[in-house]
């Protein structure tokens, strides 16, 4: 108890509160600008934390991490350009909702879901982190494969009646993910003898291209709406009421659990959590066909999950010294500059510091509410600019956002090619979301399948019949069958057109 009181006193000192507020605001702004992200912000801030007390420095880094994970959703909702990969799934429903004139509500759902998801995961981190870290480490390739397959089955729900087109889009995404050096054998695949594609197709330029550039090309062709008159509605963020939040309680709770659990697993972070959160929101919804048109569940699902992953990713970092995400890997540097080695001994040697980090993350998530409102207000003003001006500005940010990842021109061409593909997808009614889901989850699916089968000596039964993996796969298979049943049999409209 004394340790807790000491930690509370530390966090609620004016200096620490200032650093947390600054960190959340900075993280949210970095997250909202395509090309900049919280990992970059954390890395740049580490040298500055050297001069600070460890609790202030680490609270600042944790705050940037929390803010950055949320910030990307602002630009995803307002402009269909996810500021950070974690926010890509938020744009699936966030942008259509904004297009309908409800941008304020969409931002409100995103902020509230992020805050609640973040708080939930910190609570879990606080209560049972050592036990969870051990469970997380028992996950092996079959479990990763089962998780990826479960998320991919979402494609069946997203397609609605045009299921074949949705699967084509998903398969194209999975195929794009195979480009580059094979992770297991180091063989180049689909590189056509050149060096440009050896590094593979990064999903961020692909997402930015398919959504933002595709939209710009479509708008250029349409010619309508370029005057911006339809956008001249003042956007003010509207937080959801308690009644609306209660209606979303199961979506949020499910995504919070998923996000925390995914965050704990090493190697898969907030982006995967957001996609699985979205996928499960669709799966358990009473109206899956409405997803993609701007439903609150489509925002709450991924947003709760990606912020819940922040607390989840801190579990293995603090308890075992293993980072659960890119940003927490960078944060190890923050510990090391203060002569601290993250891991079980830190709980014994520096318990006050550990609890101060927990409390700082609670405070950061609450501050995120205000930072989110502030940054969203600033960014929302850009929506009132007419599209003939906004379109080229979005294109430039999309280009720099793609270039900034690896400082490679290939990523810009990937963005542009995916933009043209996204335009044709839109024109011929192929859903874009499955392609992105395939691209994000492709490497995890393929590598876990091949590694797992190799480990199981190519015995499919041994590979699939592990308790956790088997259960997840059975649920995933049942949901696909239910989807097929409800589309083709229950409605009694099985025809070739429906499949196509």
């Amino acid at each position: 108890m004394e340790i807790w009181i000491g930690a509370l006193q530390t966090v609620f000192s004016p200096a620490t509160l200032f650093f947390i507020a600054f960190g959340v605001l900075l993280g949210t702004v970095l997250g909202a600008i395509p090309g900049l992200n919280s990992t970059m912000g954390t890395a740049l801030l580490i040298p500055f934390t050297f001069a600070m007390a460890p609790e202030n420095g680490l609270a600042l880094l944790a705050a940037v991490y929390c803010g950055g994970t949320f910030g990307g959703s602002i630009s995803a909702i307002l402009f269909n350009v996810p500021g950070a990969p974690e926010a890509a799934a938020t744009g699936f429903d966030g942008y259509p909702m904004a297009q309908k004139g409800h941008a304020g509500e969409a931002l409100g759902y995103a902020i509230m879901s992020s805050v609640l998801g973040g708080l939930f995961s910190v609570l879990i981190l606080n209560l049972v982190s050592p036990q969870l870290a051990v469970v997380g480490l028992t996950f092996s390739q079959p479990e990763y494969f089962a998780l990826a397959v479960a998320a991919l089955t979402l494609i069946a729900s997203l397609g609605g009646a045009g299921m074949a087109k949705a699967f084509i889009a998903g398969l194209i995404g999975l195929l794009l993910a195979t480009v580059g050096i094979d992770e297991l054998t180091a063989d180049p695949r689909f590189t056509f003898g050149g060096k440009a594609l050896l590094g593979g197709i990064n999903f961020i330029p692909a997402i930015i291209g398919a959504f933002a550039v595709g939209e710009i090309l479509a708008k250029a062709e349409e010619g309508s709406g370029l005057s911006g008159q339809h956008l001249a509605i003042k956007v003010s963020t509207k937080l959801p009421s308690v009644k609306e939040l209660l209606r979303l309680r199961w979506t949020m709770l499910r995504s919070a659990v998923i996000g925390t659990a995914i965050g704990i697993l090493p190697g898969v972070g907030a982006t995967t959590a957001a996609f699985i959160g979205y996928s499960e929101a669709v799966r358990w919804s009473g109206h899956p066909e409405k997803f993609g048109t701007g439903v609150p569940e489509g925002i709450a699902g991924p947003e709760t999950a990606n912020n819940a992953a922040t607390g989840g990713a801190m579990v293995p970092l603090l308890t075992l010294g293993i980072p659960g995400s890119a940003t927490t890997a960078v944060m190890i540097g923050g510990f090391l500059v203060h002569g601290l080695q993250p891991g079980p001994m830190l709980f014994l040697n520096q318990p006050k510091l550990m609890y101060a980090i927990f409390i700082a993350m609670y405070v950061a998530n609450i501050f995120m509410l205000f930072a989110g409102l502030l940054v969203a207000k600033v960014f929302a003003n850009f929506r009132r600019v007419r599209y003939s001006i906004l379109g080229p500005v979005i294109f430039i940010f999309a280009a720099i956002g793609s270039f900034g990842i690896r400082n490679d021109m290939t990523d810009l061409w990937i963005m542009f090619a995916c933009g043209i593909l996204g335009y044709f997808f839109k024109k011929f009614k192929y859903p874009i979301a499955p392609m992105i889901i395939g691209l994000v989850l492709g490497p995890l699916t393929e590598v876990s399948l091949r590694k797992g089968m190799f480990m199981a000596d190519y015995d499919l039964y041994a590979f699939l019949m592990r308790p956790i993996a088997g259960t997840i796969l059975v649920i995933a298979a049942a949901s696909v069958l239910w989807n097929l049943y409800s589309v083709f049999i229950r409605k009694g409209r099985a025809s070739l057109e429906e499949i196509e």
Binding site: L30, G35, L36, M40, L44, A164, K165, F167, I168, L171, I172, L174, L175, T178, D182, L184, T185, A186, D187, R189, F190, F192, I216, L217, K219, A220, E221, G223, L226, R386, S388, I389, G391, P392, V393, F395, I396, A399, I400, F403, G404, N407, M409, L412, W413, F416, G419, I420, F424, K427, F428, L449, R450, M453, F454, Y458, L496, E497, I499, E500
Partner: protein, 165 residues
């Protein structure tokens, strides 16, 4: 529209077939060659499914064309929208080609002005103001505040870029 949709699904089929053929060259020099799941296993699985699904979609589109008697629709009509669409693609491609040659700071304002004019923007003040201001903001934010490098171009353009970042 239906005929263009049919062409698109046929293109997916043809591209899948070509890529399936390309997978034949995967993993020929690795120790895992002959293993049950080599580098070609997963892409072939995906391409096989793509071939099947593109046939289903194409068949469905042909049925719809036949039902709606749309075989006569012309693919070559050019309206103002299509001209703007192709011009936008040309402009985007030109920007990407010229970016590593001329550098970010030299090409970006020119591209933005051209794109705004293409999209029908009339206000000269907005066109000039936004293109110059956005370029300046991005250069300061990315290169000075966050140390993210932007393309500098070559030769004289590189010298020009070096004056700023």
């Amino acid at each position: 529209m239906l005929k263009s949709e049919l062409i698109f699904s046929i293109l997916i089929f043809v591209a899948s077939l070509f890529l399936y053929w390309v997978t034949g060259s995967f993993g020929t020099g690795t120790t895992l060659q002959g293993a049950q799941m080599g580098p070609a296993f997963w892409p072939r699985l995906l391409l096989g499914a793509l071939l099947l699904l593109s046939v289903i979609v194409s068949a469905g589109t042909i049925r719809r064309i036949a039902r709606e008697k749309a075989w006569g629709e012309s693919l070559l009509t050019m309206d103002r929208g299509k001209v703007r669409f192709f011009a936008a693609i040309g402009l985007g491609a030109a920007y990407l080609f010229l970016l590593p040659v001329l550098g970010f700071i030299a090409i970006t304002p020119v591209f933005m002005i051209a794109f705004m004019l293409l999209l029908g923007e009339k206000s000269k003040g907005w066109i000039l103001g936004v293109s110059v201001a956005m370029t300046a903001i991005i250069v300061i934010l990315f290169t000075k505040a966050m140390y993210v490098p932007l393309p500098r171009g070559v030769w004289l353009f590189r010298e020009f870029s070096l004056l700023f970042y």
